[in-house]
């Protein structure tokens, strides 16, 4: 039996994600690799080596900080 999807807050906007879903899987769905972004989970930056192990749950706050190059 598959779990019901969960709703997280992603960069301030609500988003439904399948369950279970790791931080790496969310990034992959959005077209990013963990080596290309900074990702915060409930206010804490996820160490890159743990991105695959962090499981996202209902109500989690996720912030993806994309690189910006303009100057």
């Amino acid at each position: 039996m598959t779990e019901a999807p969960a709703t997280i807050m992603l960069n301030g906007k609500s988003r439904k994600i399948k369950q279970p879903c790791s931080a790496t899987e969310l990034l992959s769905e959005l077209g990013w690799k963990p080596t290309q972004v900074v990702i915060e989970h409930n206010g804490q930056v996820i160490p890159r080596s743990e991105t695959g192990a962090i499981m996202l749950r209902e109500g989690d706050q996720v912030e993806i900080i994309l690189p910006v190059a303009g100057g």
């Binding site: 077209g31 690799k33 080596t35 290309q36 900074v38 900080i65 910006v68 190059a69 303009g70 100057g71």
Partner: protein, 373 residues
């Protein structure tokens, strides 16, 4: 905090008067002001961020300011690059910068590096300075600045801007903080971040972020306060809010970690989309007399300044009405000044059913620098 400028330079009586509001600050004082005078700061980029950084550092009494830039002042720069005035359009940015900064503070030694920062010159340039301020506008140069600073143990005062958002930090593994690759080990995938597109920027934004960079550079030189090490400060002008993220060093950083895989400067390709072709590729196509149409989507007043011979002129705003003039059967190579507008033109033409499309990466600016006939 380790001092990045160990030496001091004596002040003249004119300078004592000029910096009197600094001298009464305990955090600056005569010693700090003499350190500022002895300091050498390198600004990479004389544009949106480089302008306010240069103005404030020159005013503050930084003794030597070096600037790396190879661009000329364009009318579209004036909305935010406050170092350059209307009368400077067409002038090299370094000349314009030197004139303004030495007029503001004649005690300043200005050093112009009129070149693109490359893997072959970056270390040599960076090594001549105490602090580096990154005000560039593209990912390859940002990685190059970071890598050169880490390899030569120089603090890198980082700032970047996009539309209404800006960010700033200080990268310095030798001072205990992370480097840019701790956060972003590799550049974004092709076309994912509009670094090569002209996404627009509100003119005041580089003023806010550049002044944060100037403040951090001055603090590093004085050894005062808490530097933005390991902290990313993000600003949004619409919400008028600042947020701070604590982002530590990556123990597996490919550059500043204990087992680095990056031990020398490596080229990061400028080409950022599978639709892009380089100016060198265009040159080769022309030499082989390949069958294609070169389309210049800039504005008519820009055509008058320079052009790549043989191009069809079709300004981007007229494209929705006039795209029918372009053949669907032939390869179309689109170009503008730097590649942003032509990328938008390419997207539009693709939506109209064109399939044989390429965007000239770096636009006519890159062409003139690297391939002019």
């Amino acid at each position: 905090m380790q001092l990045v400028v160990p030496n001091r330079a004596p002040l003249s009586s004119e300078e004592l008067q000029r910096y009197s509001r600094h001298l009464i600050l305990p955090e600056v004082g005569r010693e700090g002001q003499e350190r500022l005078k002895a300091a050498k700061v390198l600004l990479v980029g004389a544009g949106g961020l480089g302008s306010p950084v240069a103005i404030y550092l020159a005013a503050a009494g930084v003794g030597t300011i070096g600037m790396v830039d190879f661009d000329v002042v364009d009318a579209s720069n004036l909305q935010r690059q406050v170092l350059h005035f209307t009368s400077d359009v067409g002038k090299p940015k370094l000349q314009s910068a030197c004139e303004k900064l030495t007029a503001l503070n004649p005690n300043l030694a200005f050093v112009g590096h009129e070149t693109r920062l490359t893997t072959s010159n970056a270390l040599e340039i960076v090594r001549g300075y105490d602090v580096v301020v990154d005000g560039t506008d593209n990912f390859p140069t940002r990685y190059l600045v970071n890598d050169a600073c880490v390899l030569s143990k120089k603090p890198n005062v980082y700032g970047s801007i996009y539309r209404f958002d800006g960010m700033a930090s200080v990268f310095a593994p030798h001072l205990g903080g992370p480097c840019y690759r701790c956060w972003y080990p590799e550049p974004p995938p092709a076309g994912a971040v509009p670094s090569c597109a002209e996404a627009g920027v509100i003119g005041v934004l580089p003023g806010v972020i550049g002044n944060i960079q100037a403040t951090e550079a001055i603090k590093l030189i004085l050894g005062a306060g808490e530097p933005l090490l390991g902290r990313l400060l993000r600003f949004n002008a619409l919400a008028m809010s600042f947020r701070e993220h604590r982002i530590p060093r990556d123990p597996n950083c490919p550059l500043c970690g204990p087992n680095p895989t990056i031990i020398e400067l490596k080229e990061i390709p400028m080409t950022c989309s599978p639709d892009d072709i380089s100016v060198e590729q265009l040159k080769a196509m022309r030499e082989r007399k390949e069958d294609f149409v070169l389309v210049d989507v800039r504005d008519p007043d820009e055509f008058a300044v320079n052009e790549i011979a043989g191009s069809v002129k079709l300004p981007l705003p007229e494209l929705p009405q006039r795209f029918g003039e372009l053949p669907k059967s032939k390869l179309l190579v689109l170009h503008c000044k730097a590649g942003g507008r032509s990328a938008r033109a390419l997207k539009f033409l693709r939506e109209q059913g064109y399939t044989r499309l390429r965007n000239l990466a770096g636009g006519i600016t890159a062409w003139e620098q690297r391939c002019r006939d």
